[in-house]
């Protein structure tokens, strides 16, 4: 009896996951329609670039600088073999930053900041009937609320990525100088060694995909919130957790598709 109960619970859970995936894609089909008025869409887009992008710059700057510093220090600390040239520190710092740390780690951090913000904003609008008010007026609420966020994220995440890479490399350089583990010329030589421009393209694609994932998954959980303030909090938490998981899964497949 207990086994049957467990199986039925598992089945229900799987059905819910499948139903949510279906609902997510249906939501996207409604989001990607022509905005009612381009003038209003443009205004909303600028607001979202401000909310999603510009407001995230301080946290990205802080994290990137310290992250670059730590990568450089750890690489230097682990270079025990005298056969390894000193410029390897710069080379590894650059590769780690461009390929993984800036696009993925920064996106995971932003999933927390932007994801909770988007889910709670839309979730609050749902429970206070503001979304119903939009629908009653004849506004396509998904298109009005979510599309500017998606376009804003797609436009601004690559800019934030380049900004993060730059600050991370500067952080690495500063930490090496302060710890007296390398000099500027060797570090820059390392940064420029074996440079493959395709890596930047790979990082940019990742940042666009992750930006899209964060905004759409969070909007999904916000939009389908049911209940009251407590449920807005739950949706917000779910949005962050699921966005992070989807980012990690997408990261795995993108790496396999683009690097191997």
């Amino acid at each position: 009896m207990a086994a049957i109960k467990e199986i039925s619970i598992n089945l229900a859970l799987r059905m819910k996951i499948l139903s949510n995936i279906g609902k997510y894609f249906l939501m996207l089909s409604v989001v990607f329609t022509r905005p009612e008025k381009m003038k209003i869409f443009r205004r909303r887009l600028f607001q979202e670039v401000q909310n999603i992008g510009i407001n995230s710059i301080p946290i990205v700057a802080l994290l990137s600088t310290f992250m670059g510093g730590v990568i450089a220090l750890q690489t230097a600390a682990n270079m025990t073999s005298p056969l390894l040239p000193e410029y390897t520190i710069g080379y590894i710092t650059r590769s780690s930053t461009i390929l993984e740390f800036s696009p993925t780690i920064i996106s995971l951090i932003l999933a927390g900041k932007i994801g909770s913000n988007v889910a709670s904003e839309i979730g609050t609008m749902r429970v206070t009937e503001q979304i119903d008010a939009l629908e009653i007026m004849g506004v396509n609420s998904l298109n009005y609320l979510v599309l500017p966020k998606i376009i804003g994220a797609i436009l601004f995440f690559p800019i934030m990525l380049i900004f993060s890479i730059g600050l991370s490399l500067i952080g690495g350089w500063l930490s090496l100088l302060m710890a007296n583990l390398s000099n500027t010329e060797t570090y820059i030589f390392g940064l420029r060694s074996f440079f493959f421009t395709g890596d930047i393209g790979y990082a940019l694609v990742k940042s666009i995909v992750f930006g899209f994932v964060i905004v759409t998954v969070s909007s999904f959980y916000g939009y389908y919130t049911k209940g009251g303030a407590l449920d807005v909090g739950k949706s917000s938490t779910q949005a962050v957790v699921i966005s992070s998981v989807v980012i990690l899964i997408c990261n795995f497949f993108l790496t396999q598709m683009m690097l191997l």
Binding site: E129, Q130, D132, A133, E135, M137, G138
Partner: protein, 254 residues
């Protein structure tokens, strides 16, 4: 006129609306009353399309709203104004921006024209001069009035009010009730009010339908609701001691 024809609605195994049919006349305040949990809000949400009906139809001046695709429904929704229970004003916008929002979305008015219309609507609800306030800076009664101003900004043909008096003091309730009645007569619109406030029913209700166990249990006007011997309605109307006393004194007079 809005016609509701044999509407059924269930949530899982719970049948909330059971073959409801009614008509809401133009130029009158049509009230949907009933106890909590009997299906009045679900009926209203089915009428405006926030819930899909399981069967039956909703006709707006003969146009079958329930059979329409989303795109066509949006055209009818532009003719609908709605006052929500919690006002549902947009937090991030000022009072004026809230009122101008539907105009900026759906009309080709210039900013000056929109401003003029917003001023007219705010003046109509006695809130002219409060244009630049945020909803959070307004009282509950003011928020309801702003929501009414927003609802009438597009000159709607149909006005829905979901418990317009909830959370308001008696004086403010009367102000809101009078406003709804005046707007209905002045602009000759079809107004549907969901309420369980008997004061409002007696004050402004032209046509009344009583929803009980998801059915259109009774319909009539405000005089007949006082006089009816229907036990379910009497339980609802004369639930308070005060109303019971009034009934007793009326019977004594008779």
């Amino acid at each position: 006129m809005i016609e509701v024809v044999n509407v059924n609605k269930s949530f899982a195994s719970n049948q909330v609306l059971d073959n409801v049919s009614t008509k809401f006349e133009t130029g009158k305040v049509n009230m949907i009353i009933g106890q909590s949990g009997q299906g009045k809000s679900v009926l209203a949400k089915c009428i405006v399309g926030l819930h899909e009906v399981d069967s039956g139809s909703v006709l707006y001046d003969g146009r079958d709203f329930s059979a329409m695709e989303n795109h066509d429904r949006r055209e009818i929704r532009k003719e609908i104004g709605m006052l929500f229970q919690g006002s549902a004003l947009f937090d991030s916008m000022t009072v004026e921006q809230n009122v101008m929002f539907p105009l900026s979305m759906f009309t080709k008015m210039t900013k000056k024209e929109m401003q003029h219309r917003a001023d007219f609507c705010l003046d109509r609800v006695n809130l002219l001069g409060k244009n630049k306030l945020l909803p959070a800076e307004c009282s509950g009664g003011m928020q309801k009035r702003i929501a009414i101003a927003r609802a009438i900004s597009m000159k709607p043909k149909y006005l829905f009010c979901d418990e317009p008096n909830s959370g308001l003091d008696p004086m403010t309730s009367i102000v809101i009730d009078n406003l709804i009645r005046e707007i209905t007569y002045e602009f000759y619109i079809t107004t549907v009010v969901i309420s369980h406030d008997m004061n409002s029913v007696i004050e402004i209700g032209d046509n009344i339908i009583f929803i009980y166990k998801g059915q259109n249990w009774w319909s009539g006007d405000k005089k007949s609701i006082i006089q009816t011997e229907n036990p379910e309605i009497n339980n609802f109307v004369y639930a308070s001691e005060f109303m019971k006393d009034i009934k007793a004194s009326m019977q004594k007079k008779v």
